[in-house]
Amino acid sequence: MWKRSVRGQVLHFYLAGINNQNFLMRDRETGTWWQQISGKAVFGKLKGESLELAPFDELSFGLWKKESPGGQVLAAVARDQKKYESKWEDEVLKLPVPVSFPGTALKSRDVVVGLEVGGDARAYPVDTIVKQSPIQDRLGGNPILVVAGPDGKSVRAFVSRVDGNDIELFRKSDSKEFALIDSQGSGEWNFKGCAVSGPAAGKCLQELPAIKDYWFDWRNYHADTTVYRH
């Protein structure tokens, strides 16, 4: 999800190629080529520029609807509706991969959540996140919280720090409703990373862009990435 203003100019993007199974886009205004996963201009007039990320999430529809009543959903394009594959993920799994990275425990098409903080990149296998949520970690010198939502499939990541203090959050176990609780047991937090009770009530953790991707694609564009292991 990218903001599309660069040097004061609003750009319109279109699909223009595939690079190792990550798509390339061009903008109508300058014809520059951009890599979708990195938002970087790889060729053309604006080469060297980077798009600014628009803060985004990948959530289940039900969860999003609860969080954002009054939100708008992209409507299906009537002509193409039949071509939207509900099983597209299974179809993609059958496709070959253009690059592979042997020597890691992950398979090419394992789905990971990729984080980049303070110059460090790390991949968190989604299976592991769902099993261990919430995960407390350190990355690029920052305390990190990776958490699966009440639906068991939406994932968010935060810098777990409030007013300059690192905090740890745990899953509240004695509750039917989804809630996180801090180590002092003094406050509850929701999946948006906001404290709903306790001394920090009303405060929110800084959310990090969490990119869901296939392992080979994430690794291909983040050569120095590590993989989360508990």
Binding site: I18, W33, P55, F56, L59, Q72, V73, V77, W88, S154
Partner: protein, 163 residues
Amino acid sequence: MFDARQKSFHPIFWAMVVVGIALFFVPAFIIRPFRYQSPGALHLALVFRQLAPIGTILAASGVLGLTVWAWRAADRLQKILMAAAALLVVGSATMARMNYFEWMFHPVKQPGFEKADDAKLDDGEMVLTVSINGDARAYPVREMAYHHVVNDVVGGVPIAATY
């Protein structure tokens, strides 16, 4: 087919044919799915794609012009070769103007939206979401996996949803 003064015909004609064809086919060969592309190869492909719209037109004009000019003096085999070459170069110039990546994944020309309550989506379906200045949007992953890019304005901010 020509006397000695026209010896330079062949190298010029065939050089234009090669250039006209290469400008389209080399990047089309490099930028294809499921094939590894090194950074160098990708760069070469993009240089060719950048030059292709003008380069293929020049080559096609030159090849067509020379074909017409040489036609009457040419024998049967030469005519066949020249016509085939001209056809290929014109085809290449036409293809260089097409965005064939969008043939498979039709772009969303004018994104339409519906209220969350009206959307026919299962609660478990994944959506890409963004919220800017109180304006919340969801892009179903199933649709994005087909269209890949949607230009939108959310909360007054122009964004591109990509997948």
